[in-house]
Amino acid sequence: MSQKLIKRGRLMMAVTGLSLAIVATTGLAADTDIGPLPKLKTDLLKAELGKRLFFDKRISGDAGISCSTCHDPEHGFSHPDALSPGYPGNKHFRNSPSLINVSHKKTWMHDGRIGTNLNDATREMITEDYTMNMDMRIMQERTKQDPEYVRMFKEAGYGEPSNGSIRKAIPEFMKTLTSRGAPFDTGKMSRSAKRGQKVFEGKGGCTACHNGANFNDDKAHNTGVPENFDVFLDPMRHQAFLAWGLFLGIENLYAQKRDPGAHIQTHKADGSDMGKFMTPSLRELSYTAPYMHNGMIKTLEDVVDFYNEGGGQDSHKSELMKPLNLSSKEQKDLVSFLKALSGDRLEGQEFVWDQAYPAEYAPIANWRKVRN
């Protein structure tokens, strides 16, 4: 154990040394600079298994929805409604974020409540009562009942299907959901987009938060996005909000008329952290409308307009938010640049499981004689 740690430490030092060297020579690799995403090594067999699981409705409690129900490949692995559908029996209270480049984040969920790894984020979505409401022990036994899974788990090196391996395989698939072919990355941006990049990095001040290869700082900010009243007016959505708030210890929960956001991370007594949400990536926006944590802004033009006006109304709004005084041309250019951050559609067999799942669970033959 300690041996391993020491080795790892040395390796990290070596890597750090290397990147410092690159910085020194090219000046490109600092954390906050925008640029292309690093390539992720993926295990093909594990990712293939993760793909089958991702699109499989049997991975939810009542077998009614799959991961792809709310993270639909047709919409950049997000959902076109302002607020996500959620589990049957309720609806969700936030916008379904795109899962493209989700492996390049360090913190997950609009409120940032998962700060460990994608395995935990996956577990949260599978087990939470208002998302997939799955008892993972049943999930494990369902996968063990499907000979195709038994084969795939084994070939992927996981042994027999288990809930632990499911939570590894799905993130492995999500690693394949990495942007590719965006004009920004290929260097084939239009003139307008190039001008937009200058606005983005300069007068727009966007890089204050939207920086790094994934255009996000993994921090929470209050930009004054207006509340989506449907969260509170639709009891189907409000119940998911309340269940979330009850679990996370929101005070005076039933009186809440706004989404506290990342307040659940910091719980400041004066409420000055209310209404902060994690900076989202700006990649693949062409496919993932509507925007913001609650889907309140429908188009990129409206998003740029929102920022140009200095964001919305909020007593705790970030000081970074102030009117930008962009000309209409600058706004157009900025939108062009944002669109240049969207790459090829992640579609087809590489990203979508298009084979049928068994309509029912076949019995294991000779059941009394074989090992469970």
Binding site: L233, Q239, Y361
Partner: protein, 400 residues
């Protein structure tokens, strides 16, 4: 412990003395019978009034609230199954298949027991997994193959239903409904589901014409040659103890993939060793709670009341008719294909071939019918609607 044993045996001798003194009349009624351990089996008796639950006293308002909740699928995971889904009034307040239906996407692994008279029972579930109706309701609403509900979501749903908010406040005094009070209200309602207008009750209260001659003969067999009274005794016809009577493993597990999933899930969830998880092919019953190997295959004696409406029978619904049940006992805990428990080492010594003739079996079956009275029907309550907590104007006024 010792003291109470002494007391019990003293009581037993008194009872025997009474029998002897009363002579032939008592002998006919067979009010006592001696068990294997020398204990006296309490005789069958009329159903007494249901005892008050001291930490959950009934009020009409609580009962009414519990009734609505019993039928409300929002007490459950995806708001599609209520208590009444597996405890259907039209199916004997149970489920008329071998295994109970389960949460959508699952099937249960045991037979659904009737709610009727259930609140007399001190041991709920087939393996006694809950000690009160409140705990039974909670476990069933939350179990992965039953209600699959989570406390958080079920509790906040109630807050969004104005009628519940008011009713919970009236009954329990809390400003907002609490999930734990759901189980209390449900249990209160269930204390009203009582079947005591049976021929047996009438007979035992002195109406000698309430049982036919054949039923009276059957009662003698019940108390004597067939020795049913050994476990099925007292007003509920159960001693609420655990026995392995030889019920064979469910055939459904051989052919139903979804049932195989649930079978393995239950082993996993109940925390058996990996070796046992790999090899077990039958429900080990009380073993999951005691973890003593001699408890494998033992289940709590079910009560016999209302059984005319609650087929199929046994913990896994192995038998669809009472005839099959009687035949099973008559063969000494063996089914018609010669199958018995997967844990034969634990099979009760009480279970042995009874040597009942066909006529005697008919008599016994006739008597078993006397345990059931009128079917308990109910007008299903109207479920109250959700309503938003705020108006749009209130939301717009809120300071950000």
């Amino acid at each position: 412990m010792k003291n109470s044993l002494l007391k019990k045996s003293a009581l037993a001798s008194i009872a025997i003395a009474v029998t002897l003194v009363c002579g032939s009349a008592a002998a006919e009624m067979k009010i006592v019978s001696k068990g294997m351990g020398g204990e006296v089996n309490p005789p069958l008796a009329p159903l007494p009034p249901i005892p008050e639950v001291m930490d959950n006293k009934n009020t009409p308002e609580k009962i009414e609230l519990g009734k609505i909740l019993f039928f409300d699928p929002r007490i459950g995971g995806d708001a599609s199954v209520s208590c009444a889904s597996c405890h259907d009034p039209a199916q004997g307040w149970a489920w008329a298949e071998d295994f109970s239906r389960g949460y959508p996407g699952t099937v249960h692994w045991r037979n659904s027991q009737t709610v009727v008279n259930s609140q007399y029972m001190k041991k709920q579930f087939w393996a006694g997994g809950a000690s009160s109706g409140m705990n039974q309701a909670r476990s069933a609403a939350k179990g992965g193959v039953a209600g699959n509900g989570e406390d958080d979501l079920m509790e906040v749903r109630l807050a969004l239903i104005p009628e519940y908010k008011k009713r919970f406040k009236d009954v329990f005094g809390d400003e907002w409904p609490l999930i734990r009070n759901v189980w209390r209200a449900m249990a209160s309602f269930e204390t009203t589901l009582i079947s005591d207008n049976t021929p047996l009750d009438a007979y035992l209260k002195g109406d000698k014409s309430a049982l036919s001659d054949q039923q009276k003969k059957g009662m003698k067999l019940f108390n004597g040659k067939a020795n049913c009274i050994e476990c099925h005794n007292g007003p509920l016809a159960t001693d609420e103890r655990y026995y392995n009577i030889g019920v064979p493993t469910a055939g459904r597990w051989d052919e139903d993939g979804m049932a195989q999933i649930t079978f393995r899930f239950e082993q996993y969830a109940k925390g058996v060793t990996e070796d046992m998880y790999r090899h077990i092919k039958d429900d080990a019953g009380f073993y999951y709670r005691s973890k003593n190997k001699w408890d494998k295959g033992k289940f709590r004696t079910p009560n016999l009341r209302y059984t005319a409406y609650t087929a199929p029978y046994m913990h896994n619904g192995a038998f669809y008719t009472m005839e099959e049940v009687v035949d099973f006992y008559n063969r000494g805990g063996v089914d018609e294909d010669g199958n018995t428990t997967s844990f034969p080492q634990n099979k009760s010594k009480l279970i042995k071939p009874l040597g009942l003739s066909d006529d005697e079996k008919e008599d016994l079956l006739a008597f078993l019918e006397a345990f059931s009275g009128d079917e308990i029907e109910i007008e299903k309550p109207e479920l109250p609607d959700y309503a938003p907590l705020f108006t749009k104007a209130e939301l717009m006024e809120a300071k950000k």
